[in-house]
Subunit: 319 residues, 2 copies
């Protein structure tokens, strides 16, 4: 019942068996999660955004010991130590880099020259065209329902994927709201060649998110996440005390400066890694409401494939 | 190349050939559009929300002359003259009613007793369960990307459809962001039994929207619509001068009263029906950015079916 993706463009590009990519997420995706996803036939990604250079090096090396399959590093381009991160990626011959939150023009040509596949995360067709022009091999198109940082145009996955696939000829990976095999099929129907899942893999056994954060993610219901910080960088959060303070401030028209002050420092770590569920910043996507279990990453991949194949067979036989 | 939907639950429930429903929209969906969609094998809906009772009666009667297929009336339950509207629906034996913007408990039992099929529009699984408990035959689950009035939880179609199909056993019609055959397939993959399209049918030859409004809809790009009026009833609008005044007021924390004052009266008619593109209220969904032509309603239905079948065949052969 495992579908065959041998001619899939993303599988061919990245050398993986299934077009299922685990998003590189701060505080949740270290070597344990990334290697588990890669070993299951998908693509695991180390989230470098929450790692000091030495920590990143350690995770890359441990990931290599844990899997002989391809894996990637996610590099937020605005990271302060970006040059050190890139040095470590080159030194350790990481085969694939996902870039986000910055211009793809700055680093893509150099990484490509070194034989690295570069995939950029975008929230619009216009940004996808810039990524293609910069030489990226593919894009992740991430819709409004995604957790964490998010585009200003608020285009949802349902509209964004057709939009982006029309605008570029490089393969498109769909992200935002996707956690099930039926949604994987929906994303492929929209024209994506693969999917990237963040929220679903936060709630995995191998994720390094705090156990209490994982628990509240799978207990959450519809409407429990919301996009806030519109005057800074918009971010989708699980609602808690910290969220409510931000929401109250935005509702009365608070300035970017005031929002920054309420935010303070290291709140994401406090919430997602240290498990402070009320005062931490809990980045998670709308798909949280669809989850009710914490599973091994390999089971997540297998369930996606099973439910994809089953739903496709149902639709084909109805037709 | 036309798919066979003879065992589809929505087609069986409503007595239609294809599970493609044209949303009942104020100022855009009169008898010309509704009868054209029904004649093409889908379900056309008269948008009663912008009609005086006498106007509604006239549209029902003209619709009946123009088609012998089933059609429906969309009834916003907060409409001031709701009792007169219901009287006219009963008098003229309209077979199907779509209700929205109000509690399904008030009118569903009476309408059902008269043999009318009742379908309620919801924006969450919790509301879907209330509709099922009230005796509704089906629900339309409408995501954040939809035009016009919208739910507070901002759940997108990609997440909402799995959410709602898990919560109820009556059939679910997907709405919000859907304008193409590939999106129809995506909605079915998510578990919907059919789709409801608003924006796509605004840009049809038979729609009664002002020609200048239709033109600006098909010329619009990604990011050109936005949800506003969060302190009143949230509504998705095409960005224009009126939108920017509202947006500026919300950004500085304006009260509901101030928003109401800026809104004033009859702005939707002014924009969508009279064609005042800068000072009118232009309700439209994110799918507007995917459109580039104004087509006959029958062609819209045929294109949806063609592209649905083609994409399904592609995915099945890849597998």
């Amino acid at each position: 019942m495992r579908p065959d993706f041998s001619t899939n463009r993303i599988c061919q590009l990245l050398g993986i068996t299934y077009p299922i990519i685990q998003a590189g997420m701060i505080w949740a995706s270290g070597w344990r999660l990334a290697s588990a996803v890669s070993n299951a036939g998908g693509l695991g990604i180390l989230g470098a955004g929450s790692m000091y250079p030495d920590v990143l090096r350690e995770h890359i090396q441990k990931c290599k010991q844990a899997t002989d399959k391809p894996f990637a590093v996610n590099l937020p381009l605005l990271y302060v130590d970006i040059e050190k991160h890139i040095e470590i990626i080159l030194e350790n011959q990481v085969p694939i880099v996902f870039t986000s939150a910055g211009s793809p023009r700055t680093w893509t040509p150099m990484l490509k020259e070194k034989g690295i596949k570069v995939i950029h995360v975008v929230s619009s067709a216009a940004f996808a065209q810039k990524a293609e022009a910069a030489g990226c091999d593919a894009v992740v198109a991430e819709g409004y329902e995604a957790g964490g940082h998010n585009g200003r145009e608020q285009t949802t996955t349902m509209v964004l994927i057709p939009q982006v696939t029309r605008a570029v000829s490089i393969p498109v990976i769909a992200a935002g709201g996707i956690a099930t095999g039926e949604q994987l099929l929906a994303a492929m129907a929209l024209g994506a060649c693969g999917v990237q899942l963040g929220t679903r893999f936060v709630a995995s056994e191998e994720s390094s998110a705090h156990p209490d954060f994982k628990k509240i993610v799978i207990q959450s219901n519809e409407g429990d996440t919301q996009l806030v910080m519109h005057k800074l960088v918009p971010v989708r959060l699980l609602k808690n005390d910290f969220y409510r303070r931000i929401e109250e401030a935005e509702s009365r028209g608070a300035s970017a400066e005031e929002l920054k002050e309420i935010l303070g420092r290291a709140r994401a770590k406090r919430g997602m890694f240290e498990g402070d569920l009320q005062e931490g910043e809990l980045e998670i996507g709308q798909a949280a409401s669809l989850l009710d279990d914490i599973l091994p990453a390999a089971t997540i991949v297998q369930n996606l494939l099973r439910d994809y194949a089953r739903r496709l067979a149902e639709l084909s036989s109805e037709d």
